[in-house]
């Protein structure tokens, strides 16, 4: 059964060093915690691009389609000429289409964030430490039981201030 080990750090450069060493040693299943978004850590881990962008794109396109469909179909379903404009007046409808594009795009971006970041690939709760939201960085590695010692050695050698073990 896989187990988890987490090292707690105060300094960003120590975290980057540890991430590099862990990657070199072949441990890819890790999470780095930080109290704020950190581009250097992101680059060091080098995950594939976030799929949230597809949610935004899909939501926006769906919104535009719904906007066009809704305005055109409803006004043709009971044609009444208003203000001497054609029954289907594309230019005024663009306002509705635009608003629905933004609305659906935003809602699906939110959904994308919730699904990707908070539901999928949940971080094991016990590897989290409350200091990670305050002023500490953390590296959690999930690996086989036999390799825990090796990981601990890497975390220690890179200046982890505290190391905790738990079942992942």
């Amino acid at each position: 059964m896989d187990q988890g080990v987490v090292g707690i750090y105060s300094y960003q450069d120590s975290v980057l060093e540890a991430v590099g060493k862990l990657k070199d040693a072949g441990y890819s299943n890790m999470r780095v915690f930080s109290p704020f978004p950190n581009h250097e850590i992101e680059e060091a881990i080098d995950l594939p691009e976030s799929p949230v962008r597809f949610f935004t794109l899909f939501g926006g396109l769906l919104g535009a389609t719904c906007g066009i469909g809704f305005t055109v179909l409803t006004s043709s379903s009971w044609p009444i000429a208003v203000s001497a404009k054609p029954i289907v007046s594309i230019i005024p409808y663009m306002v509705i289409v635009f608003e629905l594009t933004v609305l659906f795009g935003a809602l699906s971006t939110f959904l994308g964030l919730i699904i990707n970041s908070l539901i999928r690939k949940r971080t094991p709760v016990r590897l989290y430490d409350e200091r990670f939201s305050d002023d500490k960085f953390g590296i959690a590695v999930i690996c086989e039981k036999e390799k825990l010692g090796a990981v601990e050695a890497i975390l220690n050698s890179t200046g982890a201030e505290e190391i905790k073990f738990d079942e992942a």
């Binding site: 999470r31 608003e99 935003a106 305050d134």
Partner: protein
């Protein structure tokens, strides 16, 4: 950033300071909150009186049937604009001075849209029929008229409310997680745990979060520009002299950002003082906002001049008559208040000393908001009171009921704001940490 150098901010101090803002409310807070709620009550009573008696108590007289309520609507939608400007547009431009104030500005946006959204309903003779504006399948099989600017308004304002609320919530998730980890009392811990969506701050979460935030900003930027454009079309689509002009969308958007920034300054100055946030909201932040005010003030002043020029150059006696009337007629006092507050007063901000003087900024920001309220009043009421037919001209007077509801709307806005500063992180914890130098082993 001279103050920051005296007492350096650390990650731990930022979390602590923001969590301390959420401590049990002081007597001062209650002293503000209770009168605010009472004023909301006054507004509500005025509204019920109006519903029971009829719109006649709202001062509507022929030919003016759009009065203070529509003025309030446009004013509050305008206030709502700078929140998204600061959180989305300045985010895309990577303007660092936004970091400490953007949460307050976003909260202001959400509450201002909540306030604005009430006015079209208050303005209805039968307010319970407001849902006729919303497209839903009904037994008459009749749909709303998508060519009407009023329907565009419904779509624009409700989209804006939804998107700005989501933006506000997303921005707060990591900060609420930080509060969750700090508070000790069990009920608070449970509430903040739920609101934090289980945020842990791992690299994967941040990766998706930063991307989502970027796309949100990219969607919110054109949205914010569209909302006040749509509001301006409520007027520009009509053929009333003083309304029927193509400069309205940019003119309204600039005015909205102008008044919104002034409101951010008005609100942050007392908060900064009460919660001792001098290290967070620095004079440089105010300097940045004041410069944006100069820019938008110039655009607004240019629009006032362009309106006059176009009225004269058009050769239309109705247009020209309308503008001469604005400056010299019964409402001349309102017109010149607007010009002085919006075009003359902001000139002093060209001096850096004034931009960094908190007391001066506070006074200027309030004057700007007074000026911007009158701008909307002038556009809406004066245009209606004198259109083409001299026999139908008339003068509109603000009634007590309208004044009561307007004061109630300010109280309603401040009530939400007071609740916000005591329950949610008013300063962005994560973004403040982001702008501090990263701790390194070598120092």
């Amino acid at each position: 950033m001279s103050q920051t150098q005296q007492t350096p901010l650390t990650y731990a101090r930022i979390t602590e300071d923001v969590v301390r803002m959420l401590d049990k409310p002081s007597m001062k807070w209650w002293a503000l909150f209770i009168p605010t709620v009472m004023l909301v009550g006054v507004g509500a009573l005025c509204f019920f009186y109006q519903v029971a008696t009829g719109l006649g108590v709202a001062g509507y007289r022929h030919p003016v049937f759009w009065g203070v309520y529509i003025t309030d609507f446009v004013f509050w939608v305008g206030i709502a604009h700078s929140g998204t400007l600061i959180s989305a547009i300045l985010y895309l431009f990577r303007a660092r001075f936004r970091m400490s104030i953007y949460r307050i500005a976003e909260a202001m946006t959400v509450f201002a849209v909540l306030t604005a959204g009430l006015f079209p309903i208050i303005h209805l003779g039968r307010p319970w029929n407001f849902l006729w504006l919303i497209p839903y399948p009904n037994s008459r099989e009749l749909w709303i008229n998508f060519k009407s600017p009023l329907v565009w308004d419904v779509f624009a304002v409700s989209t804006y409310l939804t998107v700005s609320s989501l933006f506000f919530i997303i921005g707060m998730i990591p900060d609420i997680a930080a509060i969750r980890d700090k508070v000790k009392e069990v009920p608070r811990k449970i509430i903040y745990s739920i609101l934090s969506f289980g945020w842990k701050g791992s690299n994967r979460e941040w990766l998706h979060y930063t991307r989502a935030y970027l796309y949100f900003a990219a969607l919110a930027t054109p949205l914010v520009l569209s909302v006040h454009s749509v509001v301006s079309w409520d007027f520009a689509m009509g053929n009333v002299p003083g309304w029927h002009t193509t400069i309205f969308p940019p003119y309204f958007v600039a005015g909205a950002i102008f008044s919104g920034l002034a409101m951010v300054i008005t609100l942050t100055i007392p908060i900064r003082k009460i919660f001792h946030l001098e290290d967070y909201i620095t004079l440089d932040n105010y300097d940045g906002m004041a410069k944006l005010i100069i820019l938008t003030s110039c655009i607004v002043a240019y629009a006032y001049a362009a309106e006059f020029f176009m009225a004269w150059y058009s050769g239309s006696p109705y247009e020209w008559g309308q503008f001469v009337y604005r400056a010299t007629g019964e409402y001349a006092l309102f017109y010149w208040t607007m010009v002085i507050c919006n075009c003359v007063v902001p000139i002093v901000l060209w001096w850096e000393k004034v931009r960094k003087n908190i007391k001066a900024l506070f006074v200027i920001s309030i004057l700007i908001n007074i000026g911007m309220w009158f701008e909307r009043f002038n556009i809406i009421v004066i245009s209606l009171s004198r259109d083409f037919e001299p026999g139908a001209w008339g003068v509109y007077k603000i009634s007590l009921v309208e004044a009561g509801i307007t004061i109630g709307s300010f109280a309603w806005f401040f009530m939400f704001f007071l609740l916000f500063v005591k329950t949610l992180p008013a300063i962005s914890i994560a973004e403040m940490k982001e702008i501090l130098p990263v701790p390194k082993k070598g120092g």
